[in-house]
Every structure is written in C-alpha cells, then in structure tokens.
Symmetry: C2
C-alpha cells in the first residue's frame, strides 16, 4: 500500500480544529488513504512524550514517517514535538502566533485550553438556550414560543431540516425551529397556520426528488412515502408553495450540513457568534 | 479604542474551520477586542475581488489594517488576496499544501469545496442516522433500540447530556442516547430499568452543585428543583449511584460541549470519524 499514510492530530485541547483543518488539506490528495488518529488533551510534558513515543513507534512500524497536525498553545511543547517526532509536523498554531504578535505589538498568553472552555457565562447560557429551544421546536413539535425563533426552517419530510437546525444551534448559538410542509398544506395551498405569523423568519429547504427517494427509502423501504412519484409530487408542491409565499430557498441535495447552515446564515444576515 | 481590531475569515467554503482556528489564536490576545466578520463561499474571481474591496474599505475606514484568516484551496485566489488585501493575511491552507506535496510526492488537486460536501453516500447516511437516533433518544424519550446506541449518557437533569449527545452525533457521527437519573432512581438506589441491560455503554456526567443551581435557576427561577439544597442532594446521589455501578464519569462544570464530547470518546475509545 504505497499510498497509505498515517496521520496524527495532536492537541492540548480537543483536537477538533486540527482535525477539521487537517482533513480539508488531506482531501486534496485523494489518491492516498489516510489512517487518522487523534491524540487530544496533551497538556503536560509526560503526555507530550507519550504522544511522541506513539508517533515514533508508528514511524518505525510502518517504515515511513507519519504526518502530524499539531495544535499546541505551549511553545515549548510544540517545539519538542517538532524536534523529536519522526514525522512531518505541521504546526497550526505556532506558525501564526508570531506574525500576530508582531501585528498586534503584543505578547500572546500561550495559554492552552482557552478557545472553547472559557466562554463567558452569558455566552454559555445563550448557546444552551439555543440548543434547548431548537430541540424543543424540532419538526413542529412545539409551536409555543415560535416568536422567539431566530429562524424557522420549512420543507418536506427528510430534506435536512433537523440536522441543519441542530447544527445552527450547536455551532452558532442560533435558535432555529423547523416545521414540516405536508400533503395537507399542499392541499390547502397555504402555509401551516402556526408559522404564518412568522413569515419573515421562514427559510425553505428543498431537495432533488431522486435524492429524497434514496433518503426516505433508507427509512421506510418500499413505502408510498418513499416512492419517486410521491417525492416528486411533494417537492414540486413545496417549491410552488414557497415560491408563492416568497420564502427564500436553498437546495440541500449536494450540500453538507455545514454548508446548508452557513448558506442560510449568510443569506439571512444572522449574526455568527463563534464558540 | 486602540485595542479594537477587525478580523475577517475568508473561505471558498463555509469558513467554519478558519473561524475555529482563528478564534483559538485570537483568544491568546485577551486584551484585544476583535470584531469578527466571516465571508464564506468565495469561489470565483469576482467574489475574491469583492472580498478584497470589503477588507480594504475596512482598512481605510479604521485607519488600521484588518487581520484576515484565509482558507482557499485555489492558489491563484489565495495569492490575489495576499497581494491585494491591505491586511495581515494568514493563509491557513496554502502554507501547509506545499510541505504536504513534498512529503507525499504528489500534487494536490487544489479543488475547493471538498472537505464536507463530498462525503460518500454511506458516510452521509451514517451521520444522518446518528443524528436521528440521538434526537429520538434524548432524555430517555425512547427506550426502543437502545441496543443500537454506541453510548448512553446518564446524569441528573441539566448536567449537559442533551448538548453533548447532539454534538457527538453531529460532529462525530456517534449514536448517543441519553437518560436522566431522577429522584425515583435515587430512592430505588438503582439504575433505571431501561438502561440496566446496557451498563457497558453508560457514561456518567456530573457537575458542581452550585453551577447546576445557576443553570436550573435560569430555567425555573425560585423552584425547589433549582434550589442549592436539592442540587446538592441530586448530584451526591447520582455520583454515589454511578460509583456503585462502576460507571465512568466526567465532570462537566468547567468544560465546553466540545471538551465533554471529546473526553468521553477518548476515554471509551469510540472511533472518531471526521466529516
């Protein structure tokens, strides 16, 4: 397997940022198969040395040095990994700290574990409230308090409303309700009564009927609900309804949850606090 | 406001990775106030030029150049921003592509929009299934199919079970159920019957009683439920129960959702697929 390489994500915190940046780089080399291993919470010298030992054992075993994406606020720890790990070490953190120090004419605190945990109590509660709100207002489960929603996603069953609204709440702290558009609404040729007063908060999701069929088929194989005919009908009716009501729309077919959520926040101008 | 600076996150995709890495760097300069602005989906030259114009207008208006975290797969676009933006441009992508090309002895595809959207259909369904499963098994709402859970979080009301399990599903594609421990369970001195058969999948969340009081107080001000006495009692009983049953435990008090989720996945050895 000449194209198989092992990749480590080493972090003094969760490693999630290193994974995300690392993966967006690795995907550019699609003829390779990468074995990924995350080593989080490396926040002491003994742990640094354990991580180095693991990397070096892998290098020895595979006869080829691994790639290490390293995200460490402590510069001594980062330097030690760069020096002692038998690897291509890409340091996501230290490389940008120096230019920032020069630009800001200030010393960085080089403190680990700051980027998530230290959110203010106010931010924490706001984020929790968004998650609880979104959870309670999934799939039209609750119509009380819809006025408090920052956005209300509408669309046919299985077009991506639930994951998108949960992602908006978790990543961006946005109170995102979602509400299904059903055959009843199409027969009435109007929006569900509960969301009608909040038209300016509505955002539509739509999807390719073939793709919808695939998704529904996973859930209820062989059902009328999942049939291509029915999917075509529902999508067409939902799109007509949203067009008539001038509800903005995004096609979710070939988009990830991250992309759908970002597209909607971008188009609506909803603020993007980051945690 | 000498310590106020504007920061842009410019990306050919969602900008989420740039925001996360950028924020973990900016938090190291805590005497500064950063105004953040994300410009996502910059995937054509006209959009690149619009972004540059916005950055330069900000520089002119503030009399101080902004900081730009730039994540662009297209090297021509990235170079254009570095050259023409009146800013400190930190390029998260290009800086690592060259060493990776040398190490792998391969050319990168320099293709934008790959890191989330292109997940295989199998991965997509697995992630969706995890989200639906987690959503359906929140707060003990459903006990059917608990055998399919990869992990079941237990703990007192408001200790962080819901956001943690949702994050596990969304970020890591893990089917995470959660189940409350209530005064009834403490009176019985045993685990809830529905989770008993799955003891090896249980992971406990605990929390400082003062912090729990604060969180519950936000929800039901002045209630017995939120009182410090009751919080102390519930936390103590829950911890005793989990210790007796040898359920591993993590204290969520000063941890972010990301940290709680990562800690649990790390300690249980659950695989971490990345999307």
């Amino acid at each position: 397997m000449p194209n198989r390489r092992t990749v480590f994500f080493v972090s003094d915190r969760t490693g999630i940022t290193a994974e995300m940046l690392g993966n967006s780089l690795l995907v550019q080399f699609d003829e390779f198969q990468f074995q990924r291993r995350t080593i989080p919470f490396i926040d002491s010298m003994p742990k640094v040395d354990e991580a180095i030992a693991e990397i070096n054992a892998t290098a020895a075993q595979e006869g080829r040095r691994p790639i290490v994406f390293c995200s460490m606020a402590d510069e001594v720890a980062a330097e030690r990994i760069r020096q002692r790990a038998d690897a291509l070490t890409l340091d996501l953190f230290q490389i940008f700290i120096t230019p920032l120090e020069v630009e800001l004419d200030a010393r960085s605190s080089h403190a680990a574990g700051r980027s998530h945990g230290m959110a203010s109590s106010h931010e924490y509660f706001a984020r929790m409230e968004a998650i609880n709100f979104t959870q309670a207002h999934d799939d039209g489960a609750q119509t009380r308090d819809l006025a408090k929603a920052q956005i209300i996603l509408v669309g046919v069953s299985r077009c991506g409303k639930t994951p998108t609204s949960l992602y908006m709440a978790l990543q961006f702290g946005v109170r995102a309700a979602n509400f299904p558009l059903t055959p009843d609404d199409f027969a009435d040729r109007r929006l569900p009564g509960s969301v009608m007063p909040f038209r300016e908060k509505l955002f539509g999701l739509t999807i390719n009927p073939e793709r919808l069929r695939e998704i529904r088929e996973e859930r209820r194989p062989g059902s009328r609900y999942a049939s291509l005919d029915n999917c075509r009908h529902e999508v067409r009716e939902a799109e007509h309804l949203m067009e008539r009501e001038r509800i903005p729309m995004v096609d979710t077919t070939s988009k990830s949850i991250e992309e759908i959520a970002t597209t909607i926040l971008h188009r609506t101008g909803l603020r993007r606090p980051v945690y």
